[in-house]
């Protein structure tokens, strides 16, 4: 593993209630890179994202995940966040009664505390998040509202990117953040991600549509199918998948597997 590897997943197998969903995933993301994961519904994309972020309820059946050269499988989700990991949810959760500003302040300060940084005071914090909010073109009052409550689908997705912008993670995993967005919202989301790009950071973008990748140009595109990455390639792979669908990749992988098992 090279020194600049940020996220390193080796032969990861995971499942739920005795059912194996991830069947040996290998993924290596270097600092400065953007990786895209595509694949048909039910392939295990969200499961992979959840397992990386540390969601409870998944059984790890084998393999490992290293983040910044540290084994993170035994860490709590909040501890992973403190290390600089972020997951933009496919379905952001509505939390009535928890004010967005208050939530974000708690989140930012918990992260700062864990990293040995001083907590932000109220004034500095407000200035900081107002700047970030402008970037995401969110409705004026959303900071005062309950977290995601009454937000449209698009607003919820933008709120995810807003939180990402505010938390400035080293590795961000975006789970279908583009689904259900019109082209303007898509550009806003892409802009949010691109602002974050830097030689020290990396992003893993899960998507169904190659159009997002017109705005967030990936270094590598992977196809996840039936719990395994069956093909990886340059950004042009996304165009090819868009034009021809997944069947040919699946077929190719099937033949390769057949050859392997024969030898």
């Amino acid at each position: 593993m090279s020194n600049s590897s940020l996220l390193s997943i080796t032969n990861l197998k995971a499942g739920v209630e005795g059912r194996t969903i991830l069947k040996g995933v290998n993924l290596e993301i270097q600092a400065g890179e953007v990786h895209a994961i595509m694949g048909p519904n039910g392939s295990g994309k969200s499961t992979l994202a959840s397992v990386i972020a540390g969601r409870e309820g998944y059984e790890i059946l084998g393999g490992g995940i290293r983040f910044k050269d540290q084994d993170i499988l035994d860490l709590e989700p909040d501890e992973r966040a403190h290390l600089g990991l972020f997951l933009a949810f496919q379905y952001p959760v509505e939390i009535p009664g928890v004010n967005t500003t208050y939530f974000l302040k708690s989140a930012i300060n918990e992260n700062r505390k864990a990293r040995g940084q001083e907590e932000l005071d109220a004034v500095a914090f407000l200035k900081f998040i107002k700047e970030k909010a402008r970037l995401l073109d969110l409705p004026e009052d959303f900071l005062k509202r309950s977290l995601n409550v009454g937000f449209s689908g698009g607003e919820k997705k933008r709120n995810e990117i807003f939180q990402m912008a505010a938390l400035e993670p080293t590795v961000a995993v975006l789970d279908e953040t583009d689904s259900g967005l019109d082209i303007d919202a898509l550009k806003v989301v892409a802009n949010g991600v691109n602002q974050l790009r830097s030689p020290e950071r990396a992003q893993l973008v899960i998507t169904h549509y190659q159009r997002l990748l017109d705005y967030i140009v990936p270094d590598v595109v992977h196809v996840l199918y039936n719990g395994q990455i069956i093909k990886s390639g340059p950004k042009e792979l996304a165009l090819e998948l868009e034009a021809k669908g997944y069947d040919w990749v699946i077929e190719e992988a099937g033949q390769a597997a057949a050859v392997t098992s024969q030898s």
Partner: protein
Amino acid sequence: MTTETLPIRPEDPFLEALQSKDPSSEEAQTWLVPIRQAGIAAYSQNGLPTTAHEDWRFTSLANLREVTFDLSLAPSTLSAMELESLPDPLQGKESIRLVLVDGQLDEGLSSRSLLPQGITLMSMKEAIQSHQTSIKAHLGQYTYGNDSPFAALNSALFCDGVYLHLPAGVELEIPIHIMHVTSDSSQGRVSLARNFFHLEQRASATVLETFCGPNKGAYLTSPTLECRVEDQAKLEHIKIQDESPEAFHMACVYASIDREAHFKSHYLSLGGKLSRNHIRTHLNGEGLCCTLNGLYLAQGHQVMDQHMVVDHAKPHTESHEYFNGILDDQSRGVFHGRIHVRQIAQKTDAKQTNKNLLLSEEAIADTKPQLEIYADDVRCTHGATIGQLDEEAIWYLRSRGIPRATARRMLVHAFAGEIIDRIDHPCIRESLDQLIWDQLEKLPHFHTHTSTDPS
């Protein structure tokens, strides 16, 4: 008064004492005699109910029946220092404060210096004599014929309480705080404050009632409040029950609300072994709005019961009931809410929700929202939930770096905050928000869940 139909109930703690009363010779105010007699009669009809009674199915009075109450105990006194040591949500803020010790007004501890001219705020005992004509037409008129045995007990025996009157058009900004204190731990003390708040047309006021007691001893607090809110008047009432762990708190609140008036009544239940708010509102004029809003926080073996009927008696009336319960340990929360829409009450707009959050596996919530509708053009909704903290929400918060314990606290606080946020008076809302934070911190499973918690 006839008593021959009485069933024998030797264990009833009050029946014998009540039946030995003879109001016609003992009551100095002749106009009060029928009120006393009606109370005795109503109580005698059923005595204290058992769980066989539909309205008491989930709330057993067995514990209360075991206590030997002493109705003859004279009210005790409280020193200014003892008073200062009691929690006061309005401490340091402007308020008009009345202190009732064992159900009787203590003038020395009260402070009415900020009370504007024209508003009457005085001891009920005094008002019965000096303001007879104003009170006579109302007292006892709003209790649906003493429809609770505790209202009946109160009517039969009350000595004192608070009388508040605002003439037409008078708006009082400064909150009135009525502190009900049980003085000492004398076993079996009974406090029966009788309160009447009368707001004439367009008047407005905010009244905070707090109830607390000593740290030990079984006592009973059974206040009865009657409110008359006339056309376009506005009353915000906040009641905080924080009795001692062995105490019984059986409160009755009756409100009769007129045209375009606003009645907003909040119930915060924190203490006591067994407590109940018996609430009846009579919606008696078009264009009015009635809101009942409550939060109960129970732990240990506490039982907290909220029992209300909202009676829509005129067309175009609006009512909301929101009650949230947070139940820990082996506590029990009971909610019974009935929206009653009379045939004449077309265009009724009524909404009722009861949500219960169980912080332990052994806590119990019983909820019974009911609609009883005799009009055909109405909008009524009701709903009830019983559940634990939303694991999806906890996961979401944790993924942002918020530790599990903090995430739990945020969610519990949010659940309580839904109720607190409905309090209009900013000063009271802020102090109650703080009070709730402090109370939540004391719940055994505020930070972690009983058994299934993995972290």
